[in-house]
């Protein structure tokens, strides 16, 4: 790695200010797993890492109340309770936290990467990591994300690339926590803009991510010195959730496809407040709202879940090498819906 310096601070404003003074060469560092990887590969060469270890909060628990936000600007979905997760929480801590109804999140956190990496990698870093596309990660290739003219996956080996929402970039979003968090309707606390006097804002998770149609060089809307501090998750009464991923290997592998679902069953046994998300199929964590709309208010059934899975993948447009993801995503989504609703799998 090129020489660089570290700076440790305890104040959010100071950390943000340092980066904003020289955004092209300074970067915030939490667990540093993705950052160190990019620095070792030579695709990023910051001169100063601003340590967040003593700046941010780590932990996952049921919140005592709500964040202090004026009600008219509060995007938090109404819920009797909220779970809060600090951005510095490691994936291992999140997997071990016992939070009711958040099975999908625990499962995703406990399967990502490896046990050793999960002891270092943080929630904030997982959500904001750069894509794992092999063209992006290659120091000698100038892909669309690095200022080139075209996404190299279009004519290249695109077996791991997007089947939904692709173009002009066809990366898949690398965050395994984003998939369940999107299904769980999470909201994130962020500090954005001028470091001095800026207030914490709440942003629905879906709005944090940037489609490549808007800007193919970025995956999220945060700029240099902006800081994600916390994740809020609405915990509904009798809420149930499930997550599943398919990988080529059982461990230390990126998912080929992920699916997550959240719902609750009312007195009549109908599904309510249904949300469905897919991961590693699109450049952003994918909200399968068509599937959720089909399921809302209905009783769980094998046939309904199959139709919902078809609806979720109806717009899929595979590249040369990744059409296998369509049946894989359908099957995975059906499995997750069966698990979340408690309806026995047909096979």
């Amino acid at each position: 790695m090129q020489p660089f310096a570290l700076i440790r601070t305890k104040r959010i404003e100071r950390a943000r200010e340092i980066v904003r003074e020289k955004p092209e060469t300074r970067v915030l560092r939490a667990g540093g797993i993705d950052l160190l990887d990019r620095m070792k590969e030579g695709i990023d060469e910051p001169e100063l890492l601003v340590e967040l270890r003593e700046v941010l909060w780590a932990g996952a628990k049921l919140a005592d109340g709500q964040p202090l936000i004026p009600p008219d600007t509060n995007p938090l979905p109404p819920a009797p309770r909220y779970a809060e997760v600090g951005a510095l929480t490691t994936l291992a801590e999140l997997a071990a936290a016992e939070l009711p109804g958040l099975d999908a999140l625990h499962q995703a956190a406990g399967q990502a990467a490896t046990p050793g990496i999960r002891n270092t990698a943080t929630v904030g870093g997982n959500l904001l990591q750069r894509p794992r596309c092999w063209y992006f990660r290659h120091r000698d290739l100038v892909c669309l994300k690095k200022g080139g003219d075209t996404c190299l996956a279009i004519t290249g080996d695109n077996r791991y690339h997007a089947i939904l929402g692709g173009g002009p970039s066809f990366i898949v979003h690398p965050s395994s926590l984003a998939t369940p968090l999107l299904a769980l309707d999470a909201v994130v606390s962020v500090f954005v803009g001028d470091a001095k006097g800026s207030v914490q804002q709440l942003v629905p998770l879906a709005e944090l991510f940037v489609s490549p149609e808007t800007d193919p060089t970025r995956e999220h809307s945060l700029g240099p010195g902006d800081l994600l501090t916390q994740v809020w998750i609405p915990v509904l009464d009798d809420m149930r959730s499930a997550y599943q991923a398919v990988r080529e290997k059982q461990s230390h592998d990126w998912p080929l496809v992920e699916a997550a679902a959240r719902l609750r069953l009312d007195q009549a046994g109908s599904m309510r407040d249904v949300r469905v998300a897919l991961g590693h199929v699109a450049p952003i964590p994918w909200n399968a709202s068509e599937a959720a709309a089909l399921l809302e208010g209905q009783a769980p059934s094998v046939d309904l879940f199959a139709r919902a899975a078809d609806a979720a993948l109806a717009d899929a447009a595979p590249l040369d090498g990744n059409a296998y993801k369509i049946p894989m995503a359908k099957g995975l989504l059906r499995e997750v819906l069966h698990r979340a609703s408690g309806l026995a799998l047909p096979e």
């Binding site: 790695m1 660089f4 440790r8 160190l36 046990p115």
Partner: protein, 229 residues
């Protein structure tokens, strides 16, 4: 324990494999070197452009390594793995992928197994690091290390120190409770073995966790843990 205690520095053993490679390697390397890399030997020490920044030049670092206090100076760009292997010559911790994908470089940082290639040396200031060399002694292996030998849990040996770290962390966590096969497999899920010794590794760990004397060893571990060891 001084580094002379490690088997590869045991002078009573005469010529060692590592020693032989080192003597050949050094001569070849010197012959191949013609120019100095300016980034490695800057003519003028660079200075950070913000107050309070550290690590552009060697910066003081103190931590405990296998029970021994360490006091030294490192640059920020030195990973914990490079510090152990290159600066301190503790080569029991292996380097393979250097990207956190294989687990060969696992060490315990305050009892938590982590990939030392993805940590900066300055991250462990004040921490207690246990490497494979700290699990036993060269003349007296730990029960887990003996079980690896008994169960033929290694072939080329490159993953072994990482396997030992991950599984010893599991044994410390479980503190004498019997373990299932799946729990061991989960604990070593970040340790890649290209030889495919996984079943033997799991057998070795289970023999320590569930074999005769397991409960006694567990309570000793628990006592050591409570005692802050």
């Amino acid at each position: 324990m001084s580094k002379r205690d490690a088997p590869e520095h045991d002078e009573t053993r005469g010529l060692t494999r590592r020693g032989l490679f080192r003597s050949i390697g050094a001569a070849t390397l010197v012959a191949g070197c013609t120019t100095d890399d300016p980034s490695v030997h800057p003519e003028q020490a660079p200075t950070p452009d913000v107050d309070g920044a550290i690590g552009l030049t060697p910066t003081p670092l103190e931590f405990v390594l296998d029970g021994q206090p360490q006091k030294l100076e490192v640059e920020a760009r030195t990973t914990l793995l490079d510090l152990l292997r290159l600066d301190l010559d503790r080569t029991g911790t292996k380097v393979v992928c250097d990207r956190g994908a294989c687990g060969a470089c696992m060490v315990l940082v305050d009892e938590v197994p982590r990939n030392s290639c993805m940590l900066l040396a300055l991250d462990v200031a004040g921490a207690s690091i246990t490497t494979v060399a700290g699990l036993g002694k060269s003349s007296q292996l730990s029960a887990l290390q003996l079980a690896f030998v008994e169960h033929d849990a290694m072939q080329c040996g490159f993953c072994t120190s990482g396997m030992l770290i991950s599984s010893s962390a599991l044994l410390r966590r479980s503190a004498g409770q019997p373990l299932e096969r799946a729990q061991v497999e989960d604990a070593i899920a970040g340790n890649l073995c290209r030889c495919g010794t996984y079943p033997h590794v799991v057998d070795a760990v289970l023999s320590v966790a569930n074999g005769p004397g397991a409960a006694r060893r567990g309570s000793e571990l628990l006592r050591a843990k409570k005692g802050g060891a």
